[in-house]
């Protein structure tokens, strides 16, 4: 205890500013905290499953097989990322409250917004890293499968004596369209966007209720309703339909729930349709808007929260 605690002069009264470094510290801690919850083996199982699906299926025709593989793996990936986002977020805040780690964190000069943002980024960063790994595995499997299928079809055509240059070119085109293209990455990006929006909703609910079960159940409900957003909107916009209370409820639901169908590109990607870059930008913009609004409301709730 020699020159350990020097007395500095006056205490600064300047407001504490938002600090990206602090947010990063919190996000990184959140990420490592989640990593210790044994998620990596889960990820590994998923990758093995994808590989098995890719190589194990019997050959029907190259186009269908590639398409089916994409539909299945992307669908599972979507569910996986949403479930992870919701559950992880629902666990984090109540845990910090219960363990009183929140007391020690917020009694430091840490604005509550930094804390909330750090938690959100931590979860999103983990989802993103998982998706990047899986995207790589998917791409590899798809590429291998694509070449294998092309070879097989070529051999088939050859033995049928139908390997005229036009037919081969056509075959190559079909396989390439269903194979590894940028579309796959856009689909994974869309999956990430949807999971991010749902995670932000979970964070908001978790700040309101600080109960894990409540957050999980309600966020799942909102996710399901969010997929039928267009239906609710149509219903609300039709004049003379349903009683007033039902109409008000639907209107509120439409106002509260995000329109998650905006991010459904998986089907068109699986069908080998091209996702235009404009659509990607639009999707990203919509997600950013949703997240900003939800995060803002979260902040308003959390600043007032009694700990």
């Amino acid at each position: 205890m020699s020159e350990v605690l020097p007395i500095s002069a006056a205490v600064s009264v300047a407001p504490v500013r938002f600090s990206p470094r602090r947010v990063w510290t919190l996000a990184y801690a959140t990420m490592t905290q989640l990593m210790r919850m044994k998620i990596l083996p889960f990820l590994l199982v998923f990758c093995v499953l994808v590989a098995a699906m890719g190589f194990g299926a019997s050959v029907i025709n190259p186009e269908q097989q590639l398409s089916q593989f994409k539909t299945m793996s992307l669908g599972v990936l979507q569910i996986f990322s949403i479930v992870f986002g919701i559950v992880a977020t629902a666990l984090l805040l109540p845990k910090d409250l219960e363990d009183r780690t929140l007391y020690t964190i917020l009694s430091k000069p840490v604005p509550r917004f930094d804390y909330v943002l750090g938690k959100l980024l931590g979860v999103l960063m983990l989802i993103a890293s998982g998706l990047v790994i899986i995207d790589a595995v998917l791409s590899l499997v798809l590429w291998l499968q694509q070449s294998a299928l092309f070879e097989a079809s070529l051999a088939q055509l050859h033995s049928d004596k139908q390997d005229s240059p036009e037919v081969v070119a056509q075959m190559r085109e079909i396989v390439a369209r269903q194979g590894l293209t940028w579309n796959l990455h856009w689909a994974v990006w869309a999956i990430f966007l949807k999971a991010s929006v749902v995670t932000t909703v979970a964070l908001l609910l978790s700040c309101i209720a600080s109960s894990t079960l409540f957050t999980i159940v309600i966020t799942f409900c909102i996710t399901i309703i969010g997929h039928g957003h267009a239906m609710i909107r149509e219903f609300v916009l039709q004049p003379h339909l349903g009683s007033t209370s039902v109409r008000i409820t639907s209107f509120l639901l439409a106002a509260i729930c995000p329109d998650l169908a905006q991010f459904d590109v998986v089907d068109s990607v699986a069908n080998g349709e091209i996702v235009p870059l404009g659509a990607v930008y639009e999707m990203t913009g919509i997600a950013a808007l949703y997240m900003t609004v939800y995060l803002f409301v979260t902040h308003l709730v959390f600043v007032e929260k009694e700990l």
């Binding site: 006056a10 205490v11 600090s19 919190l26 490592t32 430091k108 700990l307």
Partner: protein, 287 residues
């Protein structure tokens, strides 16, 4: 020393709302206190008297129902008020996946520290709290006393000028608790202000300049320790190796003196703060 007090609590009232409006509970009732810069202030009181609640309000973790709290003149509602406070909550707990050293680094970074400065500061704090050997062990496996020590280390990491310690010695072994007491005395010589609660009244009497005694959410006594525990019309005599004969002689002398002089008791002296504590907190509850 500046005129702004380190901590000021003005007519603080905290009511916890029960669920569905039922069972509202008034944990703190119109409490005012001032901790001046450089002094050690002890808050004592029975379990559930509102000490921790008052501290949480000071740190902005709870919103007062009425009244306000300030740190170095800055309202607790502002984040800036927490810039030079170190807080040790009761029964502290940390991220159990981090080890002791990583925990200190985490809290240091939250305070905007970094690099070599933070590293050396963290080592210093580990040494100070006797946790060097446990520095690489997961906090999840720490004992209660070790968590308490780590809590003290994280409270000190950013060299705060005010320390708010909620039962720093709870669960700490006798030698550790003595070390903490000596630390508090050392903080005072360095001009660091300390607001502390503890149930170890003997230690509180030794380290505190002033104490406030809380009971049922109210401040029932407040003042300088010497003033509070001095009983004006009584004198305490402490003798060493006194024979029974000598004691009998003294007793006879006192009796011979007559008038209002009486021997109230003799025997081993009690901690006087403890006596005061029991008196003050056993007074009938105010409505």
């Amino acid at each position: 020393m500046s005129a702004t007090p380190a901590v000021s609590v003005n007519h603080l009232t905290k009511v916890f709302k029960g669920s569905l409006g039922k069972g509202a509970f008034r944990a703190v009732h119109d409490v005012s206190l001032t901790v001046n810069v450089g002094e050690v202030y002890g808050l004592i009181g029975p379990n559930g008297s509102g000490k921790s609640t008052t501290m949480k309000a000071i740190l902005g973790l709870l919103k007062p129902t009425a009244g306000d709290t300030r740190i170095f003149g800055i309202p607790s509602t502002e984040v800036a008020s927490r810039r030079s406070v170190g807080f040790l909550p009761e029964n502290p707990y940390f991220y159990k996946h981090l080890n002791g050293r990583e925990t200190l680094h985490f809290y240091g970074k939250l305070c905007g520290m970094g690099g070599e400065k933070l590293k050396s500061r963290a080592e210093e704090m580990l040494a100070l709290t006797g946790l060097e050997d446990a520095a690489t062990r997961r906090v999840g496996g720490y004992s209660k006393g070790m968590l308490q020590r780590l809590g003290l280390a994280q409270a000190l990491i950013h060299e705060p000028q005010l320390l708010v310690l909620d039962e720093p010695t709870a669960g700490v072994d006798p030698s550790g608790s003595r070390i903490i007491r000596d630390l508090i005395i050392e903080f005072r010589t360095r001009g660091i202000t300390v607001l502390v609660t503890s149930h170890l009244l003997e230690q509180m009497q030794e380290v505190c300049d002033r104490v406030g005694i809380m009971a049922h959410g109210r401040m029932v006594r407040e003042g300088r320790v010497e003033d509070l525990i001095a009983v004006e019309n009584q004198t305490e005599m402490v003798l060493e190796n006194a024979s029974p004969e000598l004691l009998a002689k003294i007793d006879a002398l006192v009796k011979a003196e007559g008038g209002g002089t009486r021997m109230l008791r003799s025997g081993h002296p009690r901690t006087t703060l403890e006596r005061l504590f029991l008196e003050a907190t056993n007074e009938p509850k105010k409505p």
